[in-house]
């Protein structure tokens, strides 16, 4: 029995302050594991929960923002529209850290158009897709990320090619692209910590098997199938600022990248070739090769540390737009000057 006082992070909050409501998802759902990693990552990063805004679309995954960071405002919006909703939320108050949780139906099908355009704009947000290749709430139809040849629970075989959201994100100019697996805390926690600090869209495609509709023999997204096909691009570690406590410090030949807040990212190579995360082409090549081998390649594919988020590209002031009212109204003289054109 431990009776010590709960530890506070550098923002002065305990880990419990990052918790949310009780999940209503299926027992054992990969999404709940991701939720717990999100709680841990935000606690570790020491982000003030009042400075976080949570977003989602519609679907099982989109319910999860209710299950973490209950001190943060949340917006469970409409199907496929998380990206533009987030764009508006970001521009109205660009001082907030945005985290959006979407699913493969929400992002790769109904919201695909919105998704790719948000990437072009580089809205500053963490964009997670909890990807299971299946529509859970409507009971097991294939999504657009299901693999060709995968078998549904009802026995249908998927005749279509899947959309690789990471390859798409790379094509669209996304400034932070990664893939992980819900069961891989060692990889996901460093990625989330990096995403929290990224000044642009940080996209993480998280393979999260659906235990109700895609965890059977013949499904390429069952826990067993994903574990068997999961190949990591590199090993990741993350060291929080002002502390030398290592969270995950991979052994072996490694690169260290220091971030603006003093935290450090460690990337250790796993094969003879070291994947250069600053090379978009290399990332695309790696993804295509893995796809040909029917592997789930995970890890950090691409990272542009010079990323300019939308609010900066649009030259918005440091005061959030939503706090501006009367002061935006030009003077009487300006109105006179303008109306003179119509006399």
């Amino acid at each position: 029995m431990e009776a010590k006082v709960a530890e506070k992070n550098r923002a002065g909050f305990t880990k419990a302050d990052y918790a949310g409501a009780k999940s209503t998802l299926c027992m054992g759902c990969g999404h709940d594991t991701i939720t717990s990693h999100i709680i841990t990552a935000f606690y570790q990063a020491g982000v003030n929960p009042y400075d976080v805004t949570k977003l989602s679309g519609i679907g099982c995954s989109s319910k999860t923002p209710a299950y973490f960071l209950s001190k943060s405002h949340g917006f469970n919006s409409i199907h496929g529209r998380m990206a533009p909703i987030a764009t508006g939320v970001h521009l109205a108050n660009a001082n907030q850290t945005l985290i959006g949780v979407s699913g493969d139906g929400d992002t790769a099908s109904i919201g695909l158009g919105s998704f790719v355009h948000m990437l072009r704009r580089n809205v500053r947000m963490i964009y997670l897709v909890e990807n299971n290749g299946v529509y859970g709430l409507t009971k097991g139809q294939f999504s657009a990320t299901a693999d060709r040849g995968s078998k549904s629970k009802a026995g249908f075989v998927n005749p279509y090619d899947s959309i690789d959201l990471c390859a798409l994100a790379l094509e669209m100019g996304c400034t932070f692209v990664a893939r992980s697996f819900s069961g891989d805390a060692k990889q996901l926690l460093p990625l989330l910590n990096m995403a929290i600090r990224h000044k642009g869209t940080a996209f993480i495609d998280i393979i999260s098997p659906c235990i109700a509709y895609a965890n059977h023999e013949g499904s390429t997204r069952s826990f067993d199938a994903v574990r068997a096909a999961n190949v990591s691009l590199q090993e990741l570690g993350f060291i929080q600022p002002m502390t030398e406590i290592k969270i995950d410090y991979p052994e072996g030949e490694a690169k260290t990248v220091e971030l603006h807040d003093g935290s450090r990212v460690i990337l250790r190579k796993l094969s003879s070739e070291h994947h250069d995360v600053t090379k978009r082409d290399a990332a695309l090549l790696a993804l295509n090769e893995a796809r040909a081998r029917r592997e789930f390649l995970t890890g950090l594919f691409y990272w542009d540390q010079q990323s300019v988020p939308l609010n900066e590209a649009l030259k918005l002031p440091s005061t959030p737009l939503r706090d501006l009212g009367e002061q935006t109204r030009p003077s009487v003289e300006v109105l006179d000057e303008i109306l003179a054109r119509y006399e």
Binding site: I78, V89, P320, G325, L335
Partner: protein, 602 residues
């Protein structure tokens, strides 16, 4: 004797031929002379080549609605010239580009035909064929100006105004003007032209000539708009472009920082979603669109209504259904705007009728959206939005911007409790908090799914029903806040005319015509939905009411029938839906037809 300040001109050209500037110069000249004037551009959905017609109506009595037939036509388009003879009334004048050959049979004997050699007139003015083609347009303005006795100085000023600081352009166009005038003097000097102008020193004092889209864009600039997301669509694009142009000039600080954001979205699904996102986070956010875009916005409109998020849509109506006639005008989106989205939804709809109201309602729409925490749709149309209208100069908006019931950390602390959807004040309007409010009670979870007073997910029948009843109560509150109708009551009359939007131009003239025939009418221009008490009062005061609207299915009448069933039997429809701005004759004819039927019945 010549008719003074009372004539209409229609110019037929090809789209993209540069005639727009010439027409605007002529209209602005008349305006600056103090002549009541209106200008309507009838254009195709095309970049260049298809026929376009521009009508200018000068009218001493102030009636500037479209007329079915013109007094004067200028025919510059070979493709349509033969048929364009029909634009003119009997006894009218046709100025035909002499290069256009017309089959003898098409030439009407009941009009005066004047062939003008525009090519020869502009030949000496430039070596460039392209420029000469453009100058031919200004030459017809010169010809008309000479015959209508328009002072050259006013005309030259309007021309300079049109071309701004492009001195070379001004010079060549001035020469073309003079060449046109000279031709008319030399060749028509002794013609007794039956129309002329006379400057009225003061009748347009304090007025401006502007289109509704430009005015609405200005309204957004002065009404506190900080966020616009849009997808270009005719006829609404110029509204956002007006905002961008002015905001880029006057709302950028010395560091180059903008106090507004504009995002051209990938589609209307995204543009309204961005507006809802920004509105939720507390910005005064708007989008502009037209019918097809409004249809795409339906789902997010329901989210705004049900999750109670401020948002503003400017819908500049064009002709539907489907892609319809993209460059023609209609009042066909009234019902779809009011009920936009599935389930029980009703939205506050503002119905400006003039550019002035477009300007003022920009702030009104934001205020109402933030006070009521809901979607507000402003319905204008192509006629209001893209045609030039003369009206009073806009007053500087001094009214404070209302930001609604938003609680900050301090207020939350004092209140002790915060429930997002609780009807604390019994007006149906709850309190909200914004992202980033540093208080443990501030956060809530917004959802378009069923929710209780705290915003928590709920499928409880009672919770759902009570929430929907509260939303209905909020809509009742809205009735006390929306713009009231504009009424004109004549003593003794028990016959009313009801209208909305820009049809007042035609209705005003129709009432004048009816009055001359002994039929005095009262009039009400509805300026918002839901119907407020004053609207009901008007129906109470009248025995018989004509509801004038530009659509096939009598959409306003349908709303009157459903929202105020006690009155609908008093109502008769006056409908036109040919895509053109309404004319007075149509209104008069339809009213007199019903009056005649009623007399027979008695």
């Amino acid at each position: 004797m010549a008719q003074v300040n009372k004539f209409s001109i229609t110019v037929a050209t090809a789209n993209g031929s540069g005639s727009q500037s010439a027409n605007n110069i002529l209209a602005r000249t008349l305006f600056r002379m103090g002549v009541p004037v209106g200008a309507k551009n009838l254009f195709p959905s095309n970049i260049a080549g298809l026929p376009t017609w521009f009508s200018i109506r000068a009218n001493e009595e102030g009636f500037t609605a479209r007329q079915r037939l013109a007094d004067i036509a200028v025919l510059m388009n070979p493709a349509t010239a033969a048929d364009d003879f029909n634009l003119v009334r009997t006894g009218g004048y046709v100025f035909l580009n002499s290069e256009i050959k017309i089959p003898e049979a098409k030439i009407r004997p009941d009009v005066q035909l004047i062939k003008v050699p525009f090519r020869e007139i502009v030949q000496p003015l430039s070596d460039s064929i392209k420029l000469r083609k453009l100058l031919a347009n200004i030459a017809y303005v010169g010809v008309l100006a000479e015959l209508l006795k328009i002072p050259q100085d006013v005309l030259a000023d309007a021309l300079t105004h049109q071309f701004g600081d492009k001195q070379k352009v001004i010079d060549s166009n001035l020469n073309a003007l003079l060449a046109g005038r000279a031709w008319a003097r030399e060749n028509m000097g002794d013609t007794l032209f039956p129309f002329r102008t006379r400057a009225n020193a003061c009748s347009n004092d304090g007025k401006i000539m502007i289109d509704g889209n430009t005015a609405a864009g200005l309204g957004l600039v002065f009404g506190g708009c900080t966020f616009v997301a849009w997808y270009p669509i005719t006829p609404s694009s110029s509204l956002v472009e007006s905002f961008i142009e002015v905001a880029e000039k006057y709302r950028v600080n010395e560091n180059g920082e903008r106090d507004f954001a504009v995002v051209q979205a990938e589609d209307e699904l995204a543009s309204i979603a961005m507006v809802v996102g920004a509105g939720w986070a507390g910005a005064r956010a708007a989008t502009a669109t037209s019918g097809p875009g409004l249809s795409l916005m339906a789902e997010a409109a329901g989210l705004s209504y049900y999750a109670e998020i401020p948002a503003v849509i400017w819908n500049v109506q064009r002709v539907g259904p489907s892609t319809g006639l993209p460059t023609r005008t209609m009042q066909g989106d009234l019902l779809s705007a009011y009920y936009l989205s599935h389930g029980d939804t009703k939205h506050v709809v503002l119905l400006p009728g003039t550019p002035g109201e477009c300007f003022y309602y920009a702030q009104t729409a934001f205020d109402l959206a933030e006070i009521l925490q809901t979607l507000v749709i402003v319905l204008t149309d192509l006629d209001i939005g893209m045609n030039l209208h003369v009206g009073p100069r806009f007053n500087y908006p001094h009214d404070e911007m209302s930001r609604g019931k938003v609680l900050n950390a301090e207020q939350l602390e004092k209140a002790g409790e915060f429930k997002r959807y609780k009807d604390v004040d019994q007006d149906g309007i709850p309190y909200r908090t914004l992202t980033g409010t540093p208080h443990p009670a501030a956060a809530y979870f917004t959802r378009g799914t069923g929710h209780d007073e705290s915003g928590l997910y709920s499928e409880s029948p009672d919770v759902y029903k009570n929430n929907m009843l509260r939303l209905a109560r909020k809509f009742e509150t809205a009735k006390t806040m929306v713009p009231k109708p504009e009424c004109d009551t004549r003593s003794g009359s028990r016959i009313g005319i009801v209208m909305f939007g820009g049809t007042h131009e035609a209705v005003g003239e129709a009432r004048f015509i009816l009055q001359k025939q002994g039929m005095e009418t009262n009039c009400m221009r509805i300026r918002a939905l839901p119907f407020c008490y004053e609207v009901e009062e008007f129906f109470d005061r009248n025995e018989r009411v004509y509801v004038v609207e530009q659509n096939r299915d009598a959409q306003m009448m349908t709303l009157i029938r459903s929202e105020m069933p006690q009155y609908w039997q008093k109502c008769h429809s006056v409908l036109e839906f040919d895509g053109l701005p309404l004319d007075a004759e149509t209104v008069v004819e339809q009213i007199l037809k019903v009056e005649e039927e009623l007399r027979k019945k008695c």
